[in-house]
């Protein structure tokens, strides 16, 4: 990994995720920091990333590296943690039953992924599917359900649904641009994880084929 990628690109990518992920655009714009729960989930996620080999911490911090290089490594790790927390917080709905369900879902998923011990490639695929699914659920399905209808029938159905679920299902619908910002943020986070210094694969010893060793007469 080049020093520029480690010292500049990765921290900037993860800090951008932290910034954009906190953006809530509605009538007034707000920057929401990651919740303590998502910070804890992020610790587990970073652990899984290390366990899978997608991140080799010894390539970021080691006694053989200079102090400055180790500081760059600390910056990468810290920003990765914050960006992970923000990506999780962004993927979880804002309120009600969907928030509770997705929060538990993320916890189970991270623990399950940890137990399965995937390799780097499988983990990246799994993260893409997990965040992609959460994005579709929050920004497409739930927002489509919660959006105020133009027709009287849809408004009546929404009121009925809100009453039946005691207001636990419907979400506040943000500005349409929020979905685009969220998608950009999640893609940026996945790119960042992909760019992390991964564990070097052990070099395979090329053993001679048995047929080459003992040619059949």
């Amino acid at each position: 990994m080049t020093p520029i990628r480690e010292a500049i690109v990765l921290p900037c990518v993860f800090l951008t995720v932290l910034l954009l992920g906190g953006l809530r655009i509605a009538e007034s714009t707000a920057l929401v920091p990651p919740s303590p729960y998502s910070l804890i989930l992020a610790v587990l996620l970073v652990r899984v990333v290390i366990q899978s080999g997608a991140l080799a911490p010894e390539r970021l911090m080691a006694t053989s590296r200079s102090e400055l290089a180790n500081l760059n490594g600390v910056a990468v790790l810290a920003t990765l943690w914050l960006a992970s927390a923000q990506a999780i917080a962004l993927s979880i709905p804002e309120s009600g039953l969907p928030r509770l369900a997705l929060s538990v879902f993320f916890l189970i998923l991270v623990l399950n992924t940890s137990a399965a011990s995937p390799d780097r490639q499988r983990l990246l695929r799994s993260l893409a599917v997990t965040f992609g699914t959460a994005f579709v659920l929050k920004f497409v399905v739930l927002h489509a359900v919660s959006a105020p209808g133009e027709g009287a029938v849809k408004r009546a159905l929404l009121a009925l649904l809100d009453g039946v679920t005691v207001g636990a299902l419907l979400q506040e619908v943000p500005d349409p641009i929020s979905a685009y910002v969220a998608l950009l943020t999640l893609v940026l986070f996945l790119i960042g994880v992909m760019l992390l210094p991964s564990q070097r694969r052990p070099t395979r010893l090329e053993l001679p084929m048995p047929s080459a060793m003992s040619p059949v007469p």
Partner: protein, 166 residues
């Protein structure tokens, strides 16, 4: 670029970017103008538009409060000037003041503006030497607005009809 330079630059950029994000989280600016104005204020380079402020003051003294606020908004687009925010709060107070009742919505807006003014003033102390005003300090305006928003038995006192707008 050699490795040490790249690493030092990267560390500096990371710390600066993180500080900027922290500042944005704390300040919660609503517009790009507020972001740029806030950053200029951090380095002491923020100035209000004096001409727009004078327009606002003229409208304020003529009891044209909505016009005055538009001019004050132009004068202080980043909402970083304590004196301008003081006048914004005062305009809400004067517009919302009534002999029979006060307009709670305007008073609440005024309270938000005076809180901003106090937060922006050095050590939270703000005094405006304007002889046309009945209240000169931000604290007086804040107390008056808070009193206007409270529901008390004294609201029913008929002597209130003889009260004067400050």
């Amino acid at each position: 670029m050699d490795e040490t330079t790249a690493r030092a630059l990267g560390l500096g950029a990371t710390v600066t970017y993180a500080a900027l994000i922290g500042w944005l989280y704390v300040r919660q600016p609503q517009t790009i103008t507020q972001v740029t104005g806030g950053l200029s204020a951090v380095v002491g380079a923020y100035r209000i538009d004096d001409r727009a402020f004078a327009d606002g003051l003229r409208s304020f003294n003529a009891d044209r409060f909505a016009e005055a606020r538009l001019a004050f908004d132009r004068a202080d687009p980043a909402v970083r000037d304590a004196r301008t925010q003081f006048y914004v709060a005062y305009s809400y107070y004067r517009q919302g003041w009534g002999r029979m009742y006060h307009d709670d919505r305007l008073y609440r807006e005024g309270l938000a503006a005076i809180d901003r003014a106090i937060a922006l003033a050095p050590s939270g102390r703000l005094v405006v030497d304007d002889p046309t005003l009945g209240m000169h300090s931000a604290d007086e305006v804040k107390v008056e607005l808070e009193a206007g928003l409270r529901r008390e038995p004294s609201d029913l006192n008929p002597m209130r009809l003889f009260g004067t707008r400050k």
